[in-house]
């Protein structure tokens, strides 16, 4: 039996991503092809399916056959259940963990400016998108969160550096702020500004 044929069958039958190494090990011990042959077979299969509605895709934890995203419009109708929706709060928390890992929950809250509900962290942990990679050596030893391969797999990428790049944060010079405010908004620095806005709480609690 041709190696490519067997590799293809293995990748179709596996219900999870498989690395080339894992594919190799499915072969009986004395018949295992070289890794270069396995890799060649995988590359050939990827080429074979280029024009079909399914593709062999490389993800973080290996290769997996999946239905191409162009067909999601039709295929999603197969399933009665709608795909899970994720709130902005969850996605922002996930983004912070992905881009700033390892981070504590406190770090996440500092960046977002609001508290993070335990439900969000719990959901991310249960989906196995994040995990506690370590504990920070400060009082309370809070967990430090990092992302997992499953997270990358779910979003169809192979490594963190395939995430959209973060826009650069400009360094800022405080004197520039003063200058720009002084130049562009001269009215903002005059005392007439003090009007009603100074006692927000008194009014708010009325």
């Amino acid at each position: 039996m041709e190696i490519k044929c067997i590799v293809e069958a293995i990748l179709f039958a596996a219900k999870r991503p498989m690395t080339a190494k894992q594919v190799q090990q499915v072969f009986p011990e004395l018949e295992q092809p070289d890794m270069t042959d396995i890799q060649a077979a995988i590359d050939a299969i990827i080429a074979d399916y280029r024009l079909r509605p399914v593709e062999l895709k490389q993800l973080a934890s290996g290769y997996r056959f999946q239905v191409k995203s162009e067909l999601s419009r039709w295929v999603s109708r197969l399933f009665e259940e709608k795909p899970p929706k994720y709130s902005r709060a969850l996605l922002e928390t996930l983004a912070i963990i992905a881009y700033r890992q390892p981070v504590t929950r406190g770090d996440i809250e500092d960046i977002r400016g609001v508290s993070v509900s335990s439900g969000i962290i719990q959901t991310l942990l249960e989906r196995e998108w994040v995990r506690v990679v370590s504990h920070k050596e400060v009082p309370g030893r809070p967990g430090l969160y990092g992302t997992t391969k499953q997270f990358l797999d779910y979003f169809n990428i192979t490594a963190l550096n395939e995430l959209p790049t973060l826009q650069e944060i400009k360094d800022l010079d405080v004197s520039d702020i003063d200058k720009s405010i002084a130049n562009k908004h001269p009215h903002l620095q005059v005392t007439s500004e003090s009007q009603k806005t100074n006692q927000p709480f008194a009014e708010a609690t009325d």
Binding site: L172, T197, P200
Partner: protein, 282 residues
């Protein structure tokens, strides 16, 4: 409702140079629209960003005083509507008020180096948050499993597969049991009595033999071939089963054969007897 809030600002959003003498348009949104406020904004930084972006301002150049006023107007409106406001929004209002009041004070150049300008801190936080907010939106757009890509499911049930079961070493089991014994010793009210194992095994065997039988002759529980030792084991097992009320040992009349039955069948027999006697009385 969301559309109203998210709509690009009207002409009044021209900020540079223009004084603000009127309340922001947002405040004329019907109150029920404001009730989605908390759902719409992911916290004070998000609200600030919204106020800045709706006026096409650069974060670095934000007119702190004006943004502060708008922000506090919002917060006040929330207060009027008695909407429950997360504490973070109020903390931010206090911070903004503080920044503004500082700006009104005369500068003390020598003090400036020692503590960081609170505006710079705020601007940095806004930038950082905006970065993450955009990144989250981009992650949301990545083709994702279950929504855009789908697992294929090829039938493998026709393949002959032998499921391998985990192996257990006897020593692992005994070590696990050793732990149990240690724990039990600590809890004094539990006692694992030390009958010989052969007795416990025989107890199970006798119960299994009684299953489905009405009763067995006492003598049937002994096997001659086992010799004296086997008889003793069986006898001890019967006594232990009796003690634990798992079997009943019965002798209908003096000198009759002793019979043994499972405790369950006794209960059924009694019921039958009661029914019979009731019938007789009737």
């Amino acid at each position: 409702m969301e559309a109203t809030l998210a709509e690009p600002p009207p002409a009044f959003a021209i900020v540079n140079g223009a004084p603000y003498n009127q309340l922001p348009e947002d405040l004329y949104i019907p109150p029920d629209a404001l009730e989605v406020f908390l759902d719409l904004f992911e916290g004070p930084l998000d609200l600030l960003l919204y106020l800045i972006r709706r006026q096409n301002l650069d974060i670095v150049n934000i007119p702190i005083a004006e943004i502060t006023r708008q922000y506090i107007d919002y917060i006040q409106m929330m207060g009027f509507l008695n909407l429950e406001l997360a504490a973070e929004y109020l903390v931010m209002a206090a911070l903004l008020a503080e920044i503004k009041s500082r700006m009104l004070l005369p500068r003390q150049p020598e003090a400036e180096d020692e503590e960081e300008d609170p505006r710079a801190t705020l601007i940095r936080r806004l930038q950082e948050y905006e970065c993450i907010k955009n990144a989250a939106e981009e992650i949301d757009r990545l083709p994702r499993h279950e929504r855009d890509t789908f697992a294929i499911d090829v039938d493998v049930s026709k393949l002959s597969v032998v499921q391998q079961l985990p192996d257990v070493r006897l020593s692992d089991m005994l070590l696990a049991f050793q732990d149990v014994l240690k724990r039990v010793e600590q809890l004094s009210h539990h006692q694992i009595t030390k009958e010989a194992l052969s007795v416990r095994e025989r107890m199970a065997t006798i119960l299994a033999n009684l299953k489905g039988e009405d009763s067995l002759l006492f003598a049937q529980l002994f096997t001659r071939a086992e010799g004296r030792h086997g008889v003793v084991v069986s006898f001890l097992a019967i006594l232990e089963l009796g003690k634990e009320r798992l079997i009943e040992i019965i002798q209908p009349e003096p000198f009759a054969d002793i019979r043994v039955r499972a405790a369950g069948s006794a209960a059924i027999a009694e019921e039958d007897f009661q029914v019979e006697s009731a019938a007789q009385v009737g």
